[in-house]
């Protein structure tokens, strides 16, 4: 046995915290592929079943990717800078800023909208658990769907679930360390639709949206404003968005998903609307979905049961880096989110 072969057998021993979680150095070792196979399996199994460790794993992935990007910057070329805009000096040839580094993120007024067509995810085990390569996932297609058609199709379900509106959170969000920690919690206001700035809720018979605003595709219309501790009261909560990200007059419509898919989009609001990144996801494991958007940025959403609802993280990775968002969903009608 050569010294190199001997060296290759020197695996670091996995470390666990006093409360039974994966210690961060071990998380790095696991993600670096440095653990012995048996130890790696043990860590993987634990991460899959532990919400806290799942969140840490996603966070550490972001840290690893972010650090790699910074190191690559030392070469002076290749990787685009994490900041693509300077005041008045941005060149049109400069690659777009990594979406998690846009001014909206750093702005204290930034708001994250997590768009999830959860209904499509939980609609049943009959859906094929297709494993899709992120690079091969088809680009999200903006199928035009009239608002009225959606309203007509889903009105009864909405009435049954008592869908409520979740106003966008405009509280300041932690701007620092976007690649190292999930965004800090902004208290979520979960007010019934009736208390939002709108007339008495009538999700079933809303008028057509203003002609000046083009509704987003049906697959992209599930919207929840989230932060790390955000809670929405129904997984069927949706809100139609205009093309520029502004919410249309309040209405509740269910997300339409292609079979086996769920639509996930990131929207950055304030100081100016951003173009949404729409991801098309496929279930790759019972609790995990992965996919890519039209630009090849990938996202992995991990959802774990958490009491009567779901907790998860979404890790989006693109050419310019990655970021992690934690979120929690709680359904007022758990049965509707159980995948039945």
């Amino acid at each position: 046995m050569t010294s190199e072969e001997r060296m290759s057998e020197e695996w670091p021993a996995p470390e666990w915290t006093d409360d039974g979680h994966v210690a961060e150095p071990t998380m790095h070792a696991w993600l670096d592929g440095a653990l012995a196979p048996s130890a790696a399996e043990g860590v993987a199994a634990h991460v899959a079943s532990c919400a806290a460790c799942g969140t840490l794993a996603a966070e550490v992935r972001g840290v690893i990717a972010g650090a790699a990007r910074v190191v690559a910057l030392l070469d002076g070329e290749g990787a685009p800078p994490l900041r693509a805009e300077r005041g008045g000096g941005a060149s049109s040839s400069v690659p777009p800023r990594a979406w998690y580094r846009r001014p909206a993120v750093l702005s204290l007024a930034a708001t994250l909208l997590l768009v999830v067509g959860v209904r499509a995810v939980w609609e049943g085990g009959a859906r094929p658990a297709a494993v899709a390569s992120m690079a091969e996932a088809p680009a999200a297609a903006n199928a035009a769907v009239t608002a009225d058609a959606m309203v007509a199709a889903r009105s009864q379900a909405l009435t049954d679930t008592g869908a409520v509106a979740v106003p966008k959170a405009t509280a300041p969000m932690a701007s620092a360390r976007m690649a190292t920690a999930p965004m800090a919690a902004a208290p979520m206001a979960t007010a019934p639709m009736a208390s939002a700035a709108s007339p008495a809720p009538s999700p079933v018979a809303s008028p057509a949206p203003p002609s000046a605003a083009r509704p987003m595709a049906a697959e992209q219309v599930a919207v929840m404003a989230v932060s790390a501790d955000a809670v929405v009261t129904t997984c069927l909560l949706v809100e139609t968005l205009a093309a520029d990200g502004r919410p249309l007059p309040p209405r509740m419509q269910l997300a339409e998903g292609v079979e086996g898919d769920v639509r996930l989009a990131w929207l950055w609001d304030a100081p100016r609307p951003q173009e949404p990144d729409a991801f098309r996801l496929r279930r790759v494991r019972p609790d995990s979905l992965a996919g890519a958007d039209a630009r090849g940025q990938g996202v992995v959403v991990t959802l774990l049961r958490d009491g009567g609802g779901w907790r998860g993280t979404a890790t989006a990775t693109g050419a310019a880096g990655s970021a992690v968002r934690g979120f929690r969903l709680r359904s007022a009608a758990p049965a509707a989110c159980d995948g039945r």
């Binding site: 070792a29 070329e77 900041r83 060149s91 400069v94 620092a176």
Partner: protein, 166 residues
């Protein structure tokens, strides 16, 4: 021996230069130290673990270089300013030059060992190799990398925030 040197050079030269250039920020000095590393490898004879040994020597050379006084550092900077760094890719945009400068400032905020571990890992070295190159226990590599990555990002973001505030 010539064949051995040629093989080592072919196999490790580019990676070694990249590691040294990232650590030092100067391509010419990186090339010099890479050459020194191979010279030492020649003198060493048979190597038990080539990559770890080469990068261990390179890491020591980086520390030696960094320990030289400010006068030597200013001399190197003058050298860099006087000699067009033709071997170094010219950033194609101001933003990339700024990004590289910010990244270098962030790297400079790391302790030597943390920096070395991070750069060696970026060269594809596994934990046992990193441990051997840096003379630390393999069980410490994860801790070192965890610390290095987080501090690098924090320093980089702090640098960006300072630039934002200008």
């Amino acid at each position: 021996m010539t064949e051995t040197l040629e093989r080592l050079f072919r196999t490790y030269h580019a990676s070694l230069v990249r590691y040294l250039q990232r650590a030092l920020g100067d391509r010419d000095v990186a090339e010099e130290l890479a050459q020194e590393t191979f010279v030492r490898a020649l003198k060493q004879g048979a190597l038990r673990s080539e990559r770890s040994w080469l990068f261990a020597v390179a890491a020591n050379l980086v520390r030696d270089q960094a320990r030289r006084d400010g006068r030597a550092r200013r001399r190197l900077e003058r050298y860099g300013a006087e000699q067009p760094q033709a071997a170094e890719p010219v950033p194609t945009s101001m933003e990339r030059a700024e990004g590289a400068a910010a990244a270098r400032a962030a790297l400079a905020a790391l302790a030597d060992r943390d920096r070395d571990a991070l750069l060696l890992q970026q060269e594809g070295m596994g934990y046992p190799e990193i441990a051997a190159a840096l003379g630390i226990a393999v069980g410490s590599v994860g801790t070192t990398l965890s610390r290095a990555r987080r501090r690098l990002l924090a320093a980089y973001e702090a640098q960006q925030a300072r630039e934002e505030g200008r």
